[in-house]
């Protein structure tokens, strides 16, 4: 076996780019769609969970988002990246469900944060005594509750930018807003959160 062939075998396989997978799905390859789901299911769940505020609704929004993505992927024209398109679907599905939920429930739903999945909230330079850990759990729960109570326009921007770590430009593409509008909503949303979380800040 020639030496360079050995090297080629040893090299790790590069992941197939999203666009290639999308083209395969458009050509009828359903396994390619499953690969896209595996690639993004956790990230999309994070978005739906942050926007919906509870596991049950987040789960429904997650399923709906991928169902819609599958049904409409044939119309995807590669004008944006696949993840931007998918995040937009997930955000729109979640916000649509929120509007319906708010119409049905006039009283706010104070669903607790999923305690089962709690991980210690890491804040640097703190001692992890029981009191501190309790404080961190409280902060996490308070943060999610405060996000739940944000007006819709602010919530989607805060979730995508501050909790999911997208850039202003990426958020603007997902939400189809100008970067200036993203910045403005983000700041206003942060001001509201600051008020609600004053005792922790």
């Amino acid at each position: 076996m020639p030496e360079n062939t050995q090297l080629a075998v040893a090299a790790p396989a590069l992941p197939v780019p999203d666009d290639v997978l999308v083209r395969r799905v458009q050509a009828g390859n359903t396994e390619a769609f499953e690969e896209l789901v595996r690639r993004y299911e956790r990230k999309v769940y994070n978005i739906t969970y942050r926007l919906m505020g509870n596991e049950q609704d987040a789960s429904e929004a997650l399923q709906d988002a991928f169902m819609r993505a599958y049904r409409f992927i044939g119309k995807f024209q590669f004008k944006s990246s696949f993840f931007t398109w998918l995040y937009r679907i997930a955000t729109n599905v979640s916000l649509s469900k929120l509007r319906k939920r708010e119409k049905v429930d006039t009283v706010s739903i104070d669903q607790p944060v999923n305690e089962a999945g709690d991980l210690p909230f890491e804040i640097p330079d703190v001692k992890y005594g029981p009191e501190k850990l309790m404080e961190q759990r409280e902060l996490r729960a308070a943060l999610q509750k405060a996000v739940d109570e944000l007006p819709e326009d602010y919530r989607s921007v805060v979730v995508l930018r501050d909790l999911e770590g997208l850039s202003n430009e990426e958020v603007s593409k997902v939400l189809k807003l100008s970067v200036a509008a993203v910045k403005s909503r983000l700041h206003r949303g942060r001001l509201v959160l600051r008020e609600k979380l004053a005792s922790y800040l």
Partner: protein, 88 residues
Amino acid sequence: MKKQKNRTGECHDCDEAEELIARYVGGEEDEELARKLLLHAQTCTECATLLRSLKRLVHYCSLEPTCEMPVTVRRELWVSIRREISSD
């Protein structure tokens, strides 16, 4: 937010300072912006508090761990997807 004259003359009031705070906390890296903001914050407790609390808020948000997707949620997702694909 109340108006406040700043003796440095660099940042004339708190409305302007808030705009600078929004840009600074929003991740804009600009030495001049940071300098003006610092000068104002040294003479205005209100804006200094706003700056500090927003920075903490963004920091806390950035530390939020990724939500663990429960096994049941994932199972239901895949049941839906396989059903959708097979009905296609």
